[in-house]
């Protein structure tokens, strides 16, 4: 399956915008991604191993928070998108 890497994280993923990985769940796919590109880990996860709060992960067009989170099953042909949030104000 494909993982789409957002602009700011590409420098930690071999400058790739898309990385091909294997994995039966979102967690496995992300683990395989960070095994391949170790520098990505600290950008995606907190020190205690949780996905950072501002890191949204979409399986195809669905937010994994509304599926089975990181336990969501994946299949060949799926695409995972990492989308850091955009917010702010006065």
């Amino acid at each position: 399956m494909k993982i789409h890497i957002p602009t700011p994280l590409r420098q930690y993923a071999g400058k790739n915008s898309t990385v091909e990985v294997k994995g039966g769940t979102v967690a496995e796919a992300l683990a395989n991604l960070t095994a391949q590109y170790g520098d990505l880990r600290r950008h995606l996860y907190t020190d205690d191993g949780k996905l950072r709060a501002f890191v949204n992960v979409y399986l195809n067009d669905e937010d994994i928070r509304y599926l089975q989170k990181e336990n969501t099953p994946t299949k060949e042909g799926d695409s995972l998108s990492i989308v850091p949030s955009i917010a702010g104000g006065l």
């Binding site: 602009t7 700011p8 600290r42 979409y58 067009d61 989308v83 702010g88 104000g89």
Partner: protein, 146 residues
């Protein structure tokens, strides 16, 4: 440096006037040239402000709109190079909220001050650094291409 065609520059300023007294927000697509630390904008995508509870002083881009913008960028062979929003009746300077909520390191954050419904100064700030822990906003020159 942020290079932006005049038509797009005016479009994002107009967006801020249209949503006044609420904040507008959107995504900027284009190309990044890391060698000269330059972002060149080719398209601005208007987004809805999800912070309907406090849209006069907060903004939040719907993740799904962001996902769609990322897809559009891929289809165009481009990248997300930055974001824009407005500060109604407030200076075009980044706030602590802007900083805390900024996570796209290497991207431009463009802010337009809109006073009494009229767009005034537009500034850009590059989110520099390498991690959440050492990130910082750096003033960035805007070159409007006419």
């Amino acid at each position: 440096m942020l290079k932006i065609p005049d038509s797009i520059f005016q479009e994002i300023r107009r967006h801020g006037e249209e949503t006044y007294p609420l904040e507008c927000c959107g995504v900027l697509l284009g190309e990044v040239d890391l060698d000269v630390n330059e972002r060149r904008v080719s398209l601005a995508i208007r987004c809805g402000n999800m912070r309907t509870d406090s849209a006069h002083n907060r903004y939040l881009i719907d993740d799904k709109e962001l996902l769609a913008a990322q897809k559009t960028a891929r289809e165009r062979g481009e990248d997300i190079v930055g974001f824009y929003h407005s500060h109604p009746d407030h200076p075009a300077q980044w706030s602590q909220t802007d900083f805390a909520e900024a996570h796209w390191i290497g991207c431009s954050y463009v802010i337009t001050a809109v006073a009494k419904g009229k767009a005034e100064i537009t500034n850009s700030f590059l989110l520099d650094g390498s991690t959440e822990e050492d990130k910082k906003f750096v003033d960035e020159k805007i070159e409007v291409l006419r």
